[in-house]
Amino acid sequence: MGAVQLSVYAGGIMVLFIYAVLLTDQIGKPLRDTSWKRKLLAGIISMGAAALSIYAIVTFQGINKTFEPTVTRVEDIGEKLLSYEPGGFVLPFEVISILLLAAMIGAIVIAKAKKLVNQEKN
């Protein structure tokens, strides 16, 4: 799992971010800061919500177990992904692939540079 995370994130998404930052050309300019009122309000809300959630978790009956060591193997996950039996994940797998395709196309369409299009038309 960790390996997957590392590869996807450090490799893909961070690179994307850096590209975006580069392309949007804002590195030199100073940023406006949010007003302290907003920060306070956001802080209160998030702290409050966090406290509530932790309270809910702590007082919930039935999840006080400690860990029983079971190790899941990557092969098992792989098998699960492609199995047809009930409890198999082949359908979401396929759907995810289509979704990634759609996302790719969408990103290309949205981010297409207008000028390029005009030049191509000319």
Binding site: R38, L41, A42, I45, S46, G48, A49, L52, S53, A56
Partner: protein, 647 residues
């Protein structure tokens, strides 16, 4: 056809003709639409006469009593309670069959006449459509088998009258007159409706045959005896209901004080005046009282009937006095109609019930029949004269006898009839009314007697001034009526002469049993009424046959009375005053103020408040993504709190 099942065709044909002519009014014009309308009426005419023949001579008489037949089209169309319901049905009994004959004859004649009179009028097809609508409504009214149905057709007749009076809608006076007619009759109908509802409540039925039956009447009479408290001014509630129904009839029949619309209704075309305001619609009130006559006679000893008699007599006198002074020939005829209908009401009012005592009822109906014929004839001749001379006023006429002989002779016949000279029909009917009145109350008889004289006088005043009097020079010599108009005139004149000899009492009577009546030629009453009629004619001859000074001298002698009579006793002005100064100012204006400022103001307040609130909270939609996220998260938190703590 053995039974009377075809009878619904009689009102149906004009209805279909109305719809057809109404829809095709732009495409089918003169004269085809006229011929179509007339053809429809010819069918109605034939069917009505056939029905009359069948009923009176073939099937109707059963055991020496005319039976009332009800042809039900839909039983229980609308239910008020389990027992009280409105049906749609047709009643066939002596007076409804008689009215069928009257309505179809006059309407048919008017249709033929209008082919000539309305020639080259731009709204020709519209006119015939409206005429068919009116005929349908009137036929429905006379055939209606229950109170509610008659009310429906009552209103329909009022609408047709409105449409026809306002036919020349470019003339503001015509529009005002049609509005006035409709509003006055509608006002009277308010009372009518209340009366209907009361009768329906107490009598547990709307149907005529049920209401007039002995069981219902004795039930009502015993109710009155048991509930002496439920009375107002000494008359019980049920009598008041009958009086309210009569008030509705007063509106339609132009009895005092609801008569104000009738003279103004002369703004409509003359065939309309002939059909509606002489022969058919204005007798609807008389017909209504005749329909409910057993109730009127028997409930509380006929208390309501006395009201009918007095109102009728007074209206007759009132109208006759005014008619003496009018200059517009149609107005004279309008007041004459009002006077004659007063006679009919009076006749019903003084009537008894069984056999010979029911003379008043029979005479009233007979007078209705004859009056329809000669009054329609009078109006149609007036129309021909107006058409030829292009003016309504007597001062523009005179000496027309040599130019328009047919009109002159037929007018003379009708004038003799209305004055009550034998052997014309008016004599028979009027004399029987006077005989019945003599038995009942001498004062009412005297009123009738005087009015007979006055009637003769003003009628012949009219005749002489139009056709003799002076030799007026006309711009273009007036021509006599064209063939289609003349045909109607001659037909009606023949009817006027012939009808008098029908022994009406063989057919129409209050208790549905025919009885025998004849004129006692030697009795002083009969001689007296002929004498007074001759006196009236003589006076008119003296004053008007040649141009003389007498009319001015007599008018000067009567002075103020003359002025009052000429202005119709200022009744219209009184009504205007009451409605404008009192009702408009004191009642309507405050209500209008309340509506505009309080009710509308409240609505506006709601609107303004909403806008104000919206103005304040529109800042929530800031467009900033983070604000929205904040609201989102706070909302989730709030829901969690609610779920946790308020479970």
């Amino acid at each position: 056809m053995d039974t009377f099942d075809y009878i619904y065709l009689i009102p149906l044909i004009p209805l279909l003709m109305f719809l057809f002519l109404g829809f095709t009014a732009r495409k089918i014009k003169e004269p085809v639409s006229g011929y179509l309308g007339t053809a429809g009426l010819l069918a109605v005419f034939i069917l009505s006469y056939y029905t009359a023949y069948k009923y009176f001579f073939a099937d109707g008489l059963v055991d020496g009593k005319y039976q009332q037949i009800r042809v039900m089209l839909k039983e229980g169309w609308i239910h008020f309670t389990d027992k009280l319901a409105i049906d749609i049905g047709i009643i066939i009994d002596p007076i409804s069959v008689m009215m069928l004959v009257v309505v179809s004859t006059v309407s048919f004649m008017v249709h033929i006449y209008s082919l000539g009179y309305m020639h080259k009028d731009p709204g020709f097809s519209r006119f015939y459509a409206y005429l068919s609508l009116f005929t349908f409504s009137m036929l429905g009214l006379v055939l209606a088998s229950n109170l509610f149905m008659i009310y429906i057709f009552w209103e329909l007749v009022g609408v047709s009258s409105y449409l026809l009076i306002g036919y020349y809608f470019e003339k503001p006076s015509a529009v005002a007159a049609s509005k006035k007619a409709f509003i006055v009759t509608r006002f009277a109908d308010m009372f009518f409706l209340i009366g209907i509802l009361m009768i329906g409540y107490f009598g547990q039925s709307f149907d005529f045959m049920t209401l007039n039956s002995e069981s219902t009447i004795s039930m009502l009479n015993s109710w009155i005896a048991n509930h002496q408290v439920a009375s107002f001014l000494g008359l019980s509630v049920i009598t008041w209901a009958l009086i309210l129904i009569f008030i509705g009839g007063m509106g339609k029949s132009a009895m005092f004080p609801l008569h104000i619309w009738l003279p103004d209704a002369m703004e409509g075309p003359t065939p309309v005046s002939a059909l509606i305001h002489a022969a058919t619609m204005v007798v609807a009130g008389v017909y209504l009282v005749a329909r409910l006559f057993p109730m009127y006679y028997h409930i509380e000893g006929g208390a309501a009937l006395r009201v009918v008699a007095v109102v009728g007599a007074f209206s007759a006198l009132f109208a006759a006095i005014i008619a003496l002074t009018q200059e517009d020939i149609k107005r004279v005829l309008a007041f004459s109609t009002m006077s004659q209908i007063g006679y009919m009401m009076m006749a019903l009012g003084v009537s008894g019930f069984d056999g010979y005592e029911g003379l008043g009822y029979m005479a009233g109906m007979f007078h209705l029949f004859t009056h329809a014929m000669f009054k329609a004839l009078l109006f149609l001749v007036a129309g021909a004269v107006i058409h030829a001379v292009h003016s309504n006023f007597m001062k523009d006429m005179g000496g027309l006898h040599k130019y328009m002989p047919i009109a002159s002779w037929t007018f003379l016949i009708a004038a003799l009839a209305i004055s009550g000279i034998p052997p014309f029909s008016g004599f028979f009917s009027k004399d029987e009314i006077l005989m019945a009145a003599w038995e009942y109350n001498k004062i009412i008889w005297f009123v009738g007697f005087i009015v007979a004289g006055m009637t003769a006088f003003y009628m012949f005043r009219l005749y002489f001034r139009i056709f003799h009097h002076k030799d007026t020079q006309y711009e273009h010599p007036p021509h006599d009526a064209p063939a289609n108009m003349s045909f109607s005139l001659i037909f009606l004149a023949v009817m006027t002469m012939a009808v008098g000899f029908i022994s009406f009492s063989e057919y129409i009577s209050a208790s549905l049993k025919p009885f025998h009546s004849h004129i006692h030629w030697g009795s002083p009453l009969v001689i007296g009424s002929i004498v007074i009629a001759l006196v009236g004619i003589g006076a008119a001859y003296l004053m008007y046959y040649k141009e003389t000074e007498y009319p001015q001298k007599v008018a000067a002698a009567f002075g103020t009375t003359y002025k009052w009579a000429k202005n119709k006793f200022y009744v219209d002005e009184l009504y205007m005053y009451v409605t404008h100064k009192i009702i408009f100012d004191k009642v309507s204006k405050p209500i209008a103020w309340f509506d505009r400022y309080v009710i509308d103001g409240f609505m506006n307040l709601l609107g303004v408040t909403t806008l104000g609130i919206a103005n304040r909270i529109k800042f929530l939609q800031s467009g900033r993504l983070q604000d929205y996220a904040m609201y989102f998260v706070s909302g989730v938190v709030a829901i969690i709190i609610i779920v946790i703590y308020y479970k």
